[in-house]
């Protein structure tokens, strides 16, 4: 077994272990921290694949943004320090069935899909290449989705400001 494979299994253990602990933990803050480990493991997987840019974005967005937001909302929740009550047996069973169905569906699709090895030379995933691809208007450019997402984010930002703004009552 090469060092590469060993690294992959270590990362996979962190991701899956973190995910399982996040779901089964009874303390809500601990669940958020286990989720954090899982997300860091995914960033590690991107580093392992040499997708450095994506790995850094994964850390900025998920670890620095979303997990911090989750932790803040936990802080503002009443009684977040106590253990949650264990779920009812029927709920656990249905949850397990739903998870098993999703798992088998994914496995089926992976088995039916024919993976082929591309002979084309790999494009270096450098920031320069990603930027050019993102803003190019040619056949494989992503300028339209990029702009659509920008407008979506702008709308979300304006919405947040409108919700948060304090309008002084007219005297």
């Amino acid at each position: 077994m090469s060092a590469n494979t060993i690294l992959f299994y270590i990362l996979a253990t962190i991701i899956i272990g973190g995910a399982i602990m996040a779901v089964t933990s009874l303390k809500i803050f601990r669940a958020a921290i286990y989720l954090l480990f899982s997300l860091i493991g995914i960033a590690g997987l991107y580093f392992w694949l040499n997708y450095e840019f994506l790995a850094a974005v994964q850390i900025v967005v998920y670890v620095g943004g979303i997990v911090v937001l989750i932790i803040f909302s936990i802080f503002l929740t009443h009684g977040s320090g106590e253990d949650m009550t264990a779920p009812k047996l029927s709920r656990s069973i249905f949850g397990a069935i739903a998870a098993a169905c999703g798992f088998s569906l994914t496995i089926c699709i992976i088995n039916q899909h024919h993976f082929f090895v591309s002979t084309a030379k790999a494009i270096e995933p450098s920031v320069q290449n990603i930027g050019r691809q993102m803003l190019s208007t040619t056949a494989h450019g992503y300028v339209l989705p990029f702009e659509v997402i920008s407008i979506l984010l702008l709308a979300a930002m304006i919405g947040a400001i409108v919700i948060a703004i304090k309008i002084k009552p007219k005297a």
């Binding site: 450095e52 850094a56 850390i59 900025v60 620095g64 911090v68 320090g81």
Partner: protein, 364 residues
């Protein structure tokens, strides 16, 4: 000039590499041995650095307040910090009974690990760098954004309302000041066209960005220093540990070596912030050169690159320490106003000006 460069840090690293290759032979073995050497020397460097910074902080504070500072242990009190460390080592590490034990012990580790990870792409001298990753600046920004999790974890798991309040304040502070830090870093990235640390240093071989970039870069340098002082929770932005209101903020319940680890991570962060500022704005290990002063430039070339880098870094550390004894602590509303109403709009406009400057080629 050749003989001088033979004893540089990069040639030392190269010689060790050649020696290890002859000794071990197996490339994987060499790789693992080198990683171990780098890890150990990094830890030793950081511990020595923290001793030095701890002593420097007290002496600078004393100098600012016209008093002597530590002067009993060792010559001029220089061994005071070692006495303090021994004291911390022997102190009992208390854990509150109601604390979430696992997270309580994990939080200081997360703080130190994130601080040490962010050191990887920093160029300490010419060709002397742990990992010249292609996304250098973005890597530092992303890894240091994890520090807030450690603070939130410490504050929550202590089961103490003052700790929790300190952690909440710190979370709001770090998340908002991260934006200004990021935008001021981007202004240099726009001019350089690369995120790689070595490219950024090389682009300053004909002059530092602070001089080449005119007023917009000066503005982003000032914004970077202010916002990063806030990001590492140092005075005047130390609301998270404001002792008059919150006793000790997020680390109130910590004692002994766990407290020492928070101190360690604070000093490492101080070093990283100053090193990034020195690399991006002051040319990293590049010597100071003036246009056509051949003699002057030649003399400057003789100073080793590591001295240049550390010198610039320590000047910025001194400036940040100077802040601490100059400005009074901000209130929470002042803190958020400063970021959202002043720094962020200024840096956004500044980015546009820098972009225009880069497109038109107005910089030197």
């Amino acid at each position: 000039m050749k003989t001088i460069f033979l004893i540089s840090l990069s040639s030392l690293a190269r010689h060790i590499h050649i020696w290890l290759e002859e000794l071990i032979g197996n490339p994987n073995g060499v790789y693992i041995t080198e990683m171990t050497i780098v890890g150990i020397s990094l830890i030793v460097f950081l511990v020595v650095l923290c001793f030095f910074l701890g002593y420097a902080e007290r002496k600078v504070a004393a100098f600012m307040q016209i008093r002597l500072g530590p002067n009993r242990v060792g010559p001029k009190g220089s061994l005071q910090i070692i006495a303090d460390t021994v004291k911390l080592l022997f102190k009992e590490g208390l854990t509150p009974t109601a604390a979430d034990k696992f997270l309580f012990h994990l939080a200081p580790l997360i703080m130190v690990i994130t601080a040490m990870l962010a050191l990887a792409p920093i160029a300490f001298a010419k060709d002397f760098q742990i990992f010249d990753i292609s996304i250098g600046v973005l890597y530092v920004a992303s890894v240091s954004s994890m520090a807030v999790i450690g603070i939130l974890m410490a504050g929550w798991s202590s089961y103490n309302k003052y700790s929790l309040l300190g952690a909440m304040r710190s979370g709001a502070q770090i998340v908002s000041y991260e934006l200004s830090v990021g935008l001021s870093l981007i202004s240099i990235v726009i001019l350089t066209g690369s995120l790689r640390m070595s490219d950024i240093v090389m682009s300053q071989s004909d002059g530092w960005w602070l001089f080449k970039g005119h007023i917009p870069i000066l503005i982003s340098f000032v914004i970077f220093i202010i916002a990063s002082t806030a990001e590492i929770n140092r005075a005047p932005f130390d609301l998270t540990e404001a002792e008059s209101e919150l006793t000790g903020g997020f680390h109130t319940e910590y004692s002994g070596m766990k407290f020492a680890m928070f101190l360690l991570s604070e000093y490492i962060n101080l070093f990283i912030v100053s090193a990034i500022a020195a690399t991006l704005f002051l040319g990293g290990w590049m010597p100071l050169h003036f246009g056509h002063w051949e003699g002057f430039n030649h003399v400057m070339d003789y100073i080793p690159s590591s001295i240049w880098f550390l010198g610039k870094t320590f000047i910025i550390i001194f400036i940040i320490m100077w802040f601490r004894w100059t400005f009074p602590r901000l209130r929470v509303d002042q803190l958020l106003n400063l970021e959202w109403k002043y720094l962020l709009p200024i840096s956004m406009v500044n980015i546009l000006v820098v972009t225009l400057m880069a497109i038109m080629g107005w910089h030197f």
